[in-house]
């Protein structure tokens, strides 16, 4: 088993003590993509929603006010950075922490809105995010217990896969699914997008999709299928 | 060594029975009672930490539980004030 069969040739590592970040073309592309989007978000202003009013012929403009704009931009940038980190980290626990950070920031980006329905969706999503911390951290802990290491670069070298490792990665997958809102759990997330503030809610979507793609890589590394 | 076992299994009993009590125990319709019942598993986990000598984590957990309790009670009281029917 070699990392090169999954994401392409290993380009380099960034060692920070026990946590080693690694770069393959795949990781690098997603890292760069996320950073590009984050930069764009940081310099954009929000769109104005125009809604028809009942009973009259007038339109109503739904805008994001300045205070709300600032906090949401801040959270969106943090979310972008967290996503970028999750793309290149080579440590399981670090990865779960990044995912958790993404989850909580996502809730924050929509919690600043005024629509009750959106707040409700944010709350329900938050509940899922909290429950998902059990499979996320639990899965990482089960993997640690069964392999004795958290570093993906070490796990990839192990010659065997035990059923406990598969269980751990299943938990990890469940956690990521919960935090990112994959079907059939999509509804909470999708409802959150009905609010104005386009560039910021973009990052919610960006983070969840990229984390899922990255999770595939992580799962393949853990469960060497041969 | 027996001490360690006693702590561990007492912790396990507290955690399991405490969480059952939190979910279906008597009077848990009242969120206040439910929050009170969550203290039992919290103490159970503390015992498990103690068994493994995670004393620093235990110290943090004790403090964090108090804070979580405060947050939950704040929410309960405010919702009661609002008189909302969830």
């Amino acid at each position: 088993m070699d990392l090169a069969t999954i994401g392409g040739q290993l380009l380099g590592t960034i060692p920070l003590g026990d946590i080693v970040l690694y770069l393959t073309p795949f990781n690098l592309f997603m890292f760069g993509g996320t950073l590009a989007f984050t930069t764009l978000i940081a310099i954009s202003r929000t769109e104005t929603q125009v809604e028809a009013e009942f009973g009259t012929l007038k339109d109503k403009e739904v805008k994001v006010n300045l205070e709300e704009f600032k906090i949401r931009r801040f959270l969106a940038i943090v979310c972008g950075l967290a996503t970028a980190g999750a793309m290149i980290t080579g440590d399981l626990f670090n990865f779960t922490l990044f995912v958790t950070l993404i989850g909580i920031v996502n809730i924050g980006i929509v919690s600043a809105v005024r629509q009750v329905d959106v707040l409700n969706a944010a709350f329900q999503y938050g509940l899922i995010a909290m429950m998902a911390s059990l499979p996320l951290f639990g899965g990482a802990a089960v993997l640690l217990a069964s392999t004795g290491t958290l570093s993906l670069l070490e796990i990839v070298k192990l010659p065997y896969v035990t059923s406990m490792m598969t269980f751990g990665s299943l938990l990890l997958l469940m956690g990521i699914i919960g935090e990112t809102g994959v079907a059939p759990f999509y509804a909470t997330k999708a409802e959150m997008f009905r609010t104005p503030g386009s560039p910021f809610i973009l990052i919610i979507h960006l983070s969840s999709l990229l984390v899922i793609v990255r999770a595939i890589e992580v799962l393949l590394i853990i469960n060497k299928p041969f | 060594m027996l001490d360690v076992q006693i702590w561990f299994y007492t912790g396990c009993v507290l955690v399991i029975l405490g969480s059952i009590a939190t979910v279906v125990g008597p009077g848990v319709k009242d969120p206040l009672v439910r929050t009170l019942n969550t203290e039992i598993p919290a103490v159970g986990v503390s015992l498990i930490f103690l068994t493994y000598n995670h004393t620093l984590a235990l110290l943090t957990f004790i403090a964090a539980t108090a804070v979580i309790t405060l947050i939950l009670l704040r929410a309960i009281v405010r919702l009661e004030e609002l008189g909302v029917d969830l």
């Binding site: 997603m30 993509g33 764009l40 202003r45 769109e47 079907a183 960006l206 999709l209 990229l210 793609v213 | -």
Partner: protein
Amino acid sequence: MNLMLNILLNVIIAFLLGSLLFGLQRKVMARIQKRPGPPIIQHLLHTLKFYIKESSFPKTAAMPFYIAIASILCVIWVSAVIVGPVAQGSLLLIFAIYALHKIVEHNAGSSSGSPYGKLSCVRAVFSAAAEVPLFAVLIIIFLKTRTMVISDIIAYQAQNGALLFTIPLAALMFFVLILSKAPYSPFAITKGKDIISGYETEHFGLLRGYLMISESIAWYMLLWIFLTVFLGPLSLLGYLVGMVVISVIVAFINATTPMLNPNHSIMVQVTMAFIGIVGSIILLML
């Protein structure tokens, strides 16, 4: 051959062929519905037309973003061409690009401030939730071939026969993914006519041109991946024939089916994905 030249060549091919395939698709659909239909060249002409039209920007748009998003779509699909036909790199990378495509689709809708774009944006999130499980196709391919690199997958197929016959359910799932990208398909909820043109509603002129170019390249790339991954080493003529055949099949399906309600569309896809994953794993174990 010079690398830059090679990239340019492949991108232009992807664009031209993708547009022609879209045109063919419209023609086939029209014939099935007993209309004469536009010429095959029509989609290409449409794309070029937008470059000589005036560009205007809505007052309500989220400004730098609204413009950037159209060119980003172009950039990511060009990079898909680089990863795919040119470098034959990792399949996972192409799916990362596909994920970015979903994001752009979503944001192109929401950045304009139009309610139709917004609806399309919400639906894009919905549909992304459905398409993500289809990434399980990747895992199944990996389980079978033990590699993610396209050139290795081709080599594997050259040795052991096309994957289409060994993991047919995965191919079916991938086909559903392709189907969901085609215009007028039962799963194309982001571009349904009930929300005008979906995320493209408020993009005019130059920006629309960019979007259309990228869509053509995207269509070509999806078909290319399908043919490469499931049918093994093919000659260029083989690719051409395969793409035409798939486009015609898709056109036939699109012409005869209604568009599904968003929830149903997702859950149909998810159910198919679930059956596909479980079925494939059972097939692999046998």
